[in-house]
Amino acid sequence: MVIKKAYVETTDRMLRTLELSFLKEEDAKDFRFIPGQFCELSVLGKGEAPFGIASSPTENGSLKFTINKAGVVTTALHHLEEGAEIGIRGPLGNGYPIDLFKGKNVLVIGGGFAFTTLRSLIAFFLHPENRDKLKDLTVIYGARMPGLLLYKEELKDWEKRSDIKLLVTVDWGDKDWEGKVGLVPNVLEEVAPSSENTYAVICGPPIMIKFTFPKLMVLRFPDERIYTSLERRMKCGIGKCGRCNIGHLYVCKDGPVFNYAQLKKLPKDY
């Protein structure tokens, strides 16, 4: 694929979004995915790494990935210029159970740069063709600081819409920040959305997940209606190379999306 557009998302310059377009038109047509799936992106000579797809299937023609600069491959992806070619394998994994969400309310809870596949999910359901499939769509999104929020322009657009209830919060505000200040689990407690007929989709750093699950329990969300997307060190992405398993399930092939009922049955090594 070719990097069509690349831009830095956050003030710490650690997150960069790449918009990729296919080299061949037939590949663009054949590439079908659902929100929550991921791809292996590769830079020749540097290697391959998995990334959640941040664009929605409704946004035709290109794919979007937001990449945290952390290791060899991600640093290479940060240094590539627009027009550069990169390799892609995918889509991989199961994705969010969008069919289950039909006719229900959906509560999306995201933290930090794990917001990428959640953005895909939200953009998918905000598409005119899909919005009717859901009832209420509530989004709680938090970052440590205002400058670390992803997709800032889009968040502003969503705030103006009436078909999505968006709550953006930061751990520490700055002089220009007029929005909420508070940790995601606390904001969830404060907003206290009803669990009736509602699915919760949660994705964020382990510390956020750890404190958010109990709050969802208090709100009486049943385990089967809490979904999360896991991350593991991966290589092949198709359940062969071994490393990403939790119990007998592979995060790459059987996940990365699991509900809390499934996770409770697995060994606690995640």
Partner: protein
Amino acid sequence: MKLKLNKKDFKPFLQSLIEEYDLFAPVQLVEGVSVFKKIDHPDEVDLSTPNPQKPAKELFFPQSETMFRYEKAGEKNKMTSTEEVKRERILFGARPCDIEAISIIEKVFVGEECTDVYFFEKRKKTTIIGLGCNHPLSTCFCSSAGGDPFLRAGSDLFFIDLGEAYFVELLTEKGMVFHKNKFFKEADSKDLTFVKELEEKAFEKVGYSIPVDGIEKRLNLMGESLFWDRVHEICMGCRICTYLCPTCHCFDIVDEDEHQTGQRVRNWDSCLSSLYSLETSGHNPRPTTRERTHQRLMHKFNYYPKHFGQVACVGCGRCILYCPVHFDIRQAILWTSSKRPRGLEGGMI
């Protein structure tokens, strides 16, 4: 079809194979160290070692394997795939445990959803000639793990050493190709009786004393028990058990770059390595040998059986023979089956 091959015809037979196929067989590298290697001359073949150190999985899943080569050329990168196997191959002299292990790996690599082309291409172009184990070692426990020293499953032809000759069975379509081979003679009833004797002797030696049966369920019930706190204690994470294990199949993928050209390579990897599951963030879901030993044993005896209905251990005993600290997987299996594990208080030693 029951045939035999006289020992004096053995080398000419191997030579005839070399002419038509790429032949792989046990070769002694230095005294006491033998591996499966491509054979250019029949004299290289050495069947004196009971079972080569490196298992036959290497023929299908090499220790290091190029997945493709690349050439960076400005905008247009050139990629050359490397999975094709040009010549039909023969694996000669693999023991039943190694052959069973290949089918265990095959179940993962040749799945319903995605097929590993590198493995599959080699597998489908290989005829397997198995060799019965007349003299199993004290570390062998194949019969307990669902196999036996003369298990034919997976072999296309099967050889049994009768002393003066090899008893030969043609078992599959690939094996039947050899039914008119000029070196094979008809076997007689005396040979059949002798085969029976050899089998019985070997069975007796291997025995059925290791309780592999039902281990999947026992591990389900054990949960986070004391067993896991103690069983890993002596392991120092050298990983040799996983590399030499004929069923272990984890791999890592890396790019080997030489400026404008290079290759993507996959290498054997091991769940006992601390780097195996270490994430770039610094988080490691399996931070100590406790979690890593848990993964090794659970994958073999609980997770793999959940998917494929059999354990991922063939009882070849290599992990026992070559472990520098004498971690004995048989002991671990025994502990899972006793209520108050004898000796568990003292760990593995």
